[in-house]
């Protein structure tokens, strides 16, 4: 027998009102913590995938769309840019590294990206099997793609035009799986990588080009890519991922491209921040909702304690007659409020992590660390305990002040 046990028993003695207080608090905490975790994961995801890319150059259109399509591979590309124009821009002295991307095809809903080895290197990808793509029509598949589509080395498939699963199939020679990447927890996991030339080859077959005679070759130094003159003049790619040589690049390059070429340049950091601003309103609304539910829960704890105090006035007087001090009675009521809020807050935290885990299983490509606890959760937990204390303090003081003689005389 001790004071916390006494408090626990009196919580259990009124299960319905305790349940309501617990439910409200657990729900409020779930909402707040879930938002915290999701926005933290989202920021994490964004910074992970934009790391090493200072600028994306692509066809004119929405800059946000350009970033979404070429960095996160979620939206549709803005269009294509000419290879020649892209190659010329790459020679700019503000650029230290540049990676070409060619989008637009997919296989079973997973995007095929025509690029160079540098793209995989950008995210520090490693192979779990096979080798990198060297020849046209060889692909390296992301870990998630390999797992979901059960692709193994040597498997072949035909790509589809467009980025959705119901796209028209290309009737060309099939792609061959040359390598499988290990999970990198980046966007690479859900991509199929191949050489830029593979994409051209697929499309050329359909267009039935007549001239196949050997052409003079042109090497695009910055890309580590050699193309024929015909390809150089006629082919297109989707975008360039650029790393600046110096901070001066950030000042000069976007202005030059946006003003003087038919292409546009967009900064992933800037566009991601803009995206966060857009969804920030929704996050804030949800957060306010969560905090309000927590506040309602505190009021419910307060009312439940105050109400029970009427019935328990005699209990308290009896305990005092048995030798309980005022301080013990005060603690008894405070513990009751604290216990409900503590259990409610802990349940809320666990439910939030559980929901995150469920979401992670259904949302492919996002890999939240389900059982990674962030510092803000301590603040939420601590805040809930403070709220529980505040809700219990008035009933506790009233109980503290109970006039035992008067109460017992009335009994």
């Amino acid at each position: 027998m001790n004071i916390p046990y006494l408090s626990l028993r009196s919580i259990l003695a009124k299960p319905l009102s305790s349940f309501l207080s617990w439910l409200l608090l657990a729900f409020g905490v779930t909402v707040v913590v879930l938002i915290l975790l999701v926005s933290r994961e989202l920021e994490n995801e964004i910074s992970k995938n934009t790391k090493g890319v200072d600028l994306v150059i692509g066809a004119k259109g929405s800059p946000l769309q350009l970033i979404l399509a070429n960095i996160f591979h979620v939206d549709f590309p803005t269009g294509n840019i000419n290879l020649m124009e892209a190659a010329e821009v790459s020679h700019s002295r503000y650029i230290s590294e540049v990676i070409p991307l060619s989008l637009g095809d997919s296989y079973a809903g997973y995007r095929i990206v025509g690029t160079t080895d540098a793209y995989a290197a950008l995210y520090g990808a490693e192979l779990s099997a096979g080798g990198w793509f060297e020849h046209p029509m060889q692909v390296v598949v992301g870990a998630l793609v390999a797992e979901k589509l059960k692709l193994q080395l040597g498997d072949t498939f035909e790509s589809q035009h467009g980025l959705s699963e119901d796209g028209e199939a290309h009737e060309s020679e099939p792609f061959v799986v040359a390598g499988v990447m290990s999970p990198s927890n980046t966007v690479l996991d859900k991509l199929i990588l191949t050489g830029v030339a593979s994409i051209w080859q697929v499309h050329d077959h359909e267009e039935e080009h007549e001239s196949h005679e050997k052409d003079s070759l042109i090497t695009i130094d910055h890309w580590g890519l050699t193309v024929t003159r015909e390809q150089y003049e006629e082919e297109q790619i989707t975008s360039l991922l650029v790393k600046y040589r110096s901070p001066m690049g950030a000042v000069m390059l976007p202005r030059a491209i946006n003003g003087e070429s038919s292409m546009q340049a967009a900064s992933p950091a800037f566009e991601a921040a803009r995206l966060f601003n857009i969804i920030g309103v929704g996050i804030q609304v949800l957060n306010i909702l969560g905090v309000m539910i927590i506040a309602i829960s505190a009021i419910s704890v307060f009312i439940a304690l105050l109400n029970s105090l009427k019935d328990r006035k005699y209990d308290i007087a009896i305990m005092r007659s048995m030798g309980a001090t005022r301080r013990q009675i005060l603690l008894h009521i405070l513990f009751e409020g604290l216990m409900i809020t503590f259990v409610g807050a802990i349940s809320g935290l666990l439910i939030a992590h559980g929901v995150l885990y469920a979401m992670a299983s259904s949302l492919e490509g996002i890999n939240p660390r389900t059982f990674y606890f962030i510092n803000e959760e301590w603040i939420v937990l601590f805040g809930c305990l403070i709220i529980g204390l505040l809700a219990a303090v008035i009933p506790a003081v009233l109980a503290y002040k109970t006039d035992i003689s008067e109460t017992l005389a009335k009994g």
């Binding site: 027998m1 009196s10 305990m319 005092r320 048995m322 030798g323 309980a324 005022r326 003689s405 017992l408």
Partner: protein, 208 residues
């Protein structure tokens, strides 16, 4: 063992209650008699330290209650004084056994498992030990209350109308139980009542 002197208490300035000096010897059982509203309960609360007198003194076994601080008085009450009220007033959230254990906790006399078992046995409520208090009858609840009052082996057991709401048979049974339990733990029994059925049982009587 219990001595009062010039005991006065005022709820407000107009209604001053003064009580005659009184002495109860150790092991001597006594009654406080009088009609309703004459101050029996007030006197009982003064004697047991639930209420502080406006003036005068209460001495129990040499301890001057009026000199104790508030928390020392609580502690003294827990260790040396037991109460039985008209209604059992058990703590609803706890079981029968826990109600008795609670008295040992607040009375700073923990680990009295043997004594708790014994008193449950003596009062024939052993079978009810793990029942919720609302599952037992009124008469059984009153026995739990008696068990609760004696578990700390107090010096004095105060009864405030413990028989008022009982029929003749239960009244005799409760008085007999109270007396036997008080004697078993060598406590002095002091009962405030207007119930004439119990008069003949106690030679030392104070009529207000």
């Amino acid at each position: 063992m219990l001595v009062t002197k010039n005991l006065k208490f005022a709820y407000d300035e107009e209604a001053l209650l003064s009580f005659p000096d009184w002495e109860v010897a150790a092991g001597d059982h006594a009654l406080i008699l009088g009609p309703s509203g004459c101050g029996k309960t007030t006197l009982l609360h003064l004697l047991s330290g639930l209420l502080r007198p406006t003036s005068g003194s209460v001495v129990i076994e040499g301890t001057h209650l009026e000199t104790l601080s508030s928390s020392a008085l609580d502690r003294y009450r827990g260790q040396h004084i037991g109460f039985v009220f008209q209604k059992p007033h058990l703590i609803g959230a706890l079981t029968v056994e826990e109600n008795i254990r609670l008295a040992t906790f607040f009375g700073h006399k923990p680990k009295r498992n043997k004594e708790i078992g014994q008193v449950l046995e003596d009062l024939q409520i052993h079978d009810l030990a793990h029942r919720k208090v609302f599952e037992v009858s009124q008469g059984q609840a009153q026995r739990v209350a008696i068990a609760r009052s004696v578990i700390n082996q107090p010096a004095v057991i105060f009864g405030d109308e413990p028989t008022a709401s009982l029929d003749d048979e239960s009244c005799t049974a409760v008085i007999r139980l109270l007396k036997s339990q008080a004697e078993a733990c060598k406590a002095t029994l002091i009962i405030a009542t207007h119930d004439h059925r119990v008069k003949s049982e106690f030679p030392n009587q104070l009529t207000l």
